[in-house]
């Protein structure tokens, strides 16, 4: 049977792909399944009661704090996504269309370096920049531009949004860049030849063709930001905590893993639902235009 497997191309391919596949299955699908299972159980201190119950979900629906937290988290993620993608598009466009081909890797390299350094440290540095006695405030005070330190830039949602937009920038830039690179430049020339100016060519040809990259960028930023825990914890203040912090609290501080699991499930479902809606809307929009 092993021989049969190794003798055909598809057999060898399947054999080769099985270690990474089963690893992902074991460490992703299985634990996710466990989380879903856990959300239907209850925990008292260290004991876990495995009788099936919907209590956790009821708790989430009944108590307004969870709904509010989820809403706030989805809102923040959405805003971060919009800001990040909007800021990212021009730079992806710049590197794809205005940079010499042999310089492109250099730009991409420069753009991605900050991303590879410690996330924790970068968040911390934003705290330093935006703080009451931080770099911006002391700098502006010194120059004399302001009389008192600005307070709206730290320990609230704004700080969270700025920090996350910074952290996820390359996630947004790269997919858009890849999509823009794939566009056949002669299509743009054809559009100009047929009478469109630069701006209209962008909206009628470039943007629709870059859409798959934009969609990928949106998803790559939106989905992980829901799970971000560090930024809200360090920068959010009391009013800036998000759903991930609550999940962490339930798991580690309050020893209520089932509730934490239920929250995680609800968060993931919301994110998946929103993403699917986004993808479907996008397909319809693209089809409607052509």
């Amino acid at each position: 049977m092993f021989n049969k497997l190794t003798s055909s191309e598809s057999g060898r391919g399947l054999l080769l792909i099985s270690p990474p596949f089963f690893y992902a299955l074991l460490l992703m699908a299985f634990p996710l399944g466990a989380i879903i299972l856990f959300s239907f159980w209850t925990q008292n201190f260290m004991d876990v009661d495995t009788t099936f119950t919907l209590n956790n979900y009821r708790q989430i629906i009944d108590q307004p704090i969870y709904g509010a937290l989820l809403q706030r988290s989805l809102f923040v993620s959405a805003v971060v996504t919009v800001v990040t993608v909007l800021l990212a598009f021009p730079i992806a466009y710049f590197v794809s269309f205005h940079v010499r081909p042999d310089r492109k890797s250099l730009w991409l390299f420069l753009i991605t370096i900050p991303f590879w350094t410690s996330y924790l440290i970068r968040v911390f540095l934003w705290k330093v920049i935006l703080g009451y006695n931080g770099v911006i405030n002391t700098g502006l005070l010194n120059i004399g531009l302001i009389d008192e330190p600005l307070t709206f830039i730290l320990y609230n949602i704004n700080a969270v949004i700025i920090t996350l937009a910074h952290a996820f920038a390359p996630f947004a830039i790269l997919p858009i860049f890849v999509a823009l690179e794939k566009i056949d430049r002669s299509l743009l020339e054809a559009s100009r030849d047929l009478g469109e100016n630069k701006v209209m060519t962008f909206f009628r040809v470039t943007l629709p063709l870059a859409m798959p990259g934009v969609v990928a960028a949106v998803l790559i930023v939106f989905i992980p930001t829901i799970g971000d825990y560090v930024t809200p914890e360090l920068m959010g203040g009391a009013g800036g905590k998000l759903i991930a912090n609550m999940i962490q609290t339930q798991f580690l501080a309050l020893n209520n893993a089932p509730l934490g699991a239920a929250l995680a499930v609800v968060a993931m479902l919301s994110v998946t639902a929103i993403s699917l809606v986004f993808i479907l809307l996008n397909r319809r929009w693209l089809r409607g235009r052509s």
């Binding site: 391919g13 399947l14 010194n142």
Partner: protein, 266 residues
């Protein structure tokens, strides 16, 4: 070109926080604020003497090295299978393996915590962190190695076999040297990601901490902030060096295979 100005401004925005690190790591003050107070290397000195930091560093290095090796091995399997073979449900399987890229880290951390502690009742250790890191790093390794494998002429392994080599020695003598820059790149990137990773390590570290978790602890104390700056400077410098090496290797790999550089590891 206004777009160029925007691009430069964007780069400033990206690098602004990082640039602060060396500035305040050498600043002779305990408060991180302007104006600057003078030059000192005291904070770096403190790093040298800190015992718990050394343990955390050792843990982090061990985890990062193991992660890099395991990830790269899995990545080689996946990239080779993707580039050289056709098999049923290929797109689905490859997509599934890349899924951790879009999973929020907290979900990964939390679900593994549940499985390891509650279900299997095992203790948390470096190996649980390694397991989780391998899960999230493998997609990156695959992305890099995909590039390396796809640059190969698919017939060269067959040519090697036709000339007398077995399947495995054809891989060893012909394919492996050509993807080696990609392999090293992949290991460096996985190493860097693992070294810097916080959320999963935070959830899954038992008694032993990793470096980011240690830094998190330090952040509670305002007095130790400059030391954090010093540590951060070293970490960032290290990451940048490793990444530059990875990038140079990637470029060399492409030159060796005689392929033109189209930009980035995508």
């Amino acid at each position: 070109m206004s777009l160029r100005i925007y691009a430069i401004a964007y780069l400033v925005f990206l690098y602004a926080p990082i640039v602060l690190l060396p500035i305040f790591a050498f600043n002779d003050a305990t408060i991180i604020a302007f104006p600057l107070a003078g030059f000192t290397t005291d904070w770096f000195g403190e790093l040298m003497t800190n015992r718990s930091l050394h343990t955390a560093v050792k843990n982090s290095l061990f985890i990062a090295v193991m992660t890099a090796i395991l990830c790269t091995l899995l990545g080689i399997c996946a990239a080779r299978a993707g580039a050289m073979y056709r098999f049923p449900v290929k797109a689905g399987i490859m997509g599934f393996i890349m899924l951790p890229l879009v999973l929020p880290e907290i979900i990964v951390a939390v679900s593994l915590l549940v499985v390891v502690v509650q279900i299997f009742d095992m203790g948390l250790s470096n190996w649980t962190i390694i397991a989780a890191h391998v899960l999230i790093c493998t997609p990156f390794c695959i992305a890099i190695l995909n590039g390396a494998f796809q640059n190969l002429d698919p017939s060269i392994e067959e040519a090697a076999m036709d000339l007398g080599e077995s399947r495995f020695s054809a891989f060893r003598l012909v394919t492996l040297p050509l993807v080696m820059p990609g392999i090293i790149s992949s290991m460096l990137i996985a190493f860097t990601i693992s070294l810097d990773e916080f959320i999963i390590a935070f959830f899954l570290s038992g008694t032993s901490q990793t470096m980011p978790v240690y830094i998190w602890g330090l952040m509670r104390f305002p007095a130790s902030l400059p030391v954090v700056m010093a540590l951060g400077t070293i970490l960032v410098a290290l990451s940048i060096i490793l990444l530059t090496i990875a990038e140079l290797l990637r470029r060399r790999g492409m030159a060796r295979a005689g392929v033109k550089d189209k930009g980035g590891f995508l």
